[in-house]
Amino acid sequence: MKVIVDQEKCCGAGTCVLLAPDVFDQRDEDGIVVLLDEAPPAELADVVREAASVCPGVAITVNE
């Protein structure tokens, strides 16, 4: 699994961080998404897919 984030689309909700704090964080200054792990381990795959689906800015893409 490879994760891609589009910082221009990020709205700063932080939904991804609530779901997968080992994979996503937010910048302190503006809340924009920071990708901590672009190739998360298999045990996080489901929750990362959910983060991509639930992202209100449609800023997360998962390539399987």
Binding site: C11, G12, G14, R27
Partner: protein, 394 residues
């Protein structure tokens, strides 16, 4: 409960797509059909009032998923054909073109439609903004126009006003509140929002009801206020709220009252579920019937409905969330605010245009607002529902 033989999702936007994706993530293998009233592949609505209207994004950039990702869902998308009726016992949906679709589970995710002013239909220069086609038509008129009046002092109206102003138009916002979003935000953030708009050159004409439109030879010329004043305009945007798109269920027996009335599992009748703007469901934690018109709810409720269809027995009890971007300000709202809440700035400083405020009722935090402090606001989301003994700046 076993998985249904088939799922029919009525509505091809955020809520409907989220339901489909969640069904597949939860390993549902049965047939899924998605009916969409619009001809477009599923797209995202928040960018319509910002990037799409401004022209900084081509419409394709607002797609919810690229076509190749949609195709991996193994769902049939039937687009450009609106649902016009539902037979509840048979779970059959009839469309405008006369086709019929039947499935064991039906998800109603038809969203909402913009409220309009009497006499606006057919009048050139008057717009609503709900769909991609609406946004493109409005953009065309803004590019040719010079003076726009936005009727509506809520989130959508203020976003459109900000975008139009940044496109160089003279912009006026008309609405009944003392300051934009005053009912939702309370005095402090609403006054800051008013200041943000006026400092960017937007004229606020608030506190007076709009009674109608003036026109000449089929084209709008202005917005009439209850004071008798007419605000001149060559373009008018009507953005004062939305109504659930549930009229097509009239006579079906599906309970409707400001939306499709659902139980705490987002179920309106046996095998019939609702998600997104159109759904008014029983929020067990808040113990109210709630209908939310925000982007996050569309997705989260779509996912909840997918779970309910597959037999998960969990109430849907989200913490509401929305955001708005206007000029250089990003506002985040978690939970429920309200003009009557006790508001405390807990981080940052409003004078520096960067702060977080908590909203309390009876000592319990009901909501958090972040003004250019998205991360810090999100970190306080967990306080919602908790009692706070000591207020004030920490």
């Amino acid at each position: 409960m076993s998985a249904p033989d088939g799922v029919l999702v009525v509505g091809a936007s955020a809520a409907g797509l989220a339901a489909v994706e969640a069904l597949r993530r939860k390993e549902y293998r049965g047939p899924i059909t998605v009916l969409g009233a619009e001809r477009h592949l599923p797209y995202d609505r928040p960018p319509l009032s910002k990037q799409v209207l401004a022209g900084t994004w081509p419409p394709d950039r607002a797609r919810l998923r690229p076509p190749e990702v949609l195709s991996t869902l193994d769902a049939e998308f039937v687009l450009g054909d609106a649902a016009v009726g539902l037979d509840v016992p048979a779970r059959t949906v009839r469309t405008a073109s006369g086709r019929e679709f039947t499935a064991e589970a039906v998800v109603v995710a038809t969203g909402s439609r913009a409220r309009t002013l009497p006499g606006q239909d057919g009048l050139a220069g008057v717009h609503v903004l709900r769909t991609l086609d609406d946004a493109l038509a409005l953009r065309e008129d803004l590019l040719a126009g010079s003076r726009v009046v936005v009727v509506g002092d809520g989130v959508l109206g203020t976003e459109i006003a900000a975008t139009a102003r940044m496109m160089g138009l003279a912009v006026t916002i008309a609405g009944p509140q003392r300051a934009p979003l005053a009912y939702q935000f309370g005095a402090l953030p609403a006054q800051l929002l008013a200041g943000l708009h006026t400092s960017n050159g937007v004229e606020l004409r608030l506190g007076a009801g709009v009674t109608g439109l003036s026109s000449h030879e089929g084209r709008v010329t202005g917005v009439c206020l209850e004071t008798g004043e007419v605000l001149p305009a060559d373009v008018v945007v009507v953005a004062f709220g939305a109504a659930p798109a549930a009229d097509w269920l009239a006579g079906s027996g599906v309970p409707r009252d400001n939306g499709i009335v659902c139980d705490s599992r987002c179920r309106a009748a046996e095998g019939i579920y609702a998600a997104g703007d159109v759904a008014r469901w029983h929020h067990e934690t808040l113990d109210v019937l709630l209908r939310l018109e925000n982007r996050t709810n569309a997705t989260e409720q779509g996912i909840a409905v997918a779970g309910a269809i597959l037999g998960e027995d969990r109430p849907y009890t989200p913490v509401p969330y929305f955001w708005t971007d206007q000029f250089d300000v990003k506002i985040q709202v978690h939970g429920v605010l309200g003009a009557d809440a006790d508001v405390t700035v807990v981080d940052g400083d409003p004078a520096e245009h960067r702060f977080v405020a908590t909203y309390r009722r009876d000592g319990v935090v009901t909501g958090v607002l972040g003004w250019n402090m998205a991360k810090q606001a999100r970190l306080l989301r967990q306080e919602i529902g908790k009692s706070v003994l000591v207020g004030g700046k920490s």
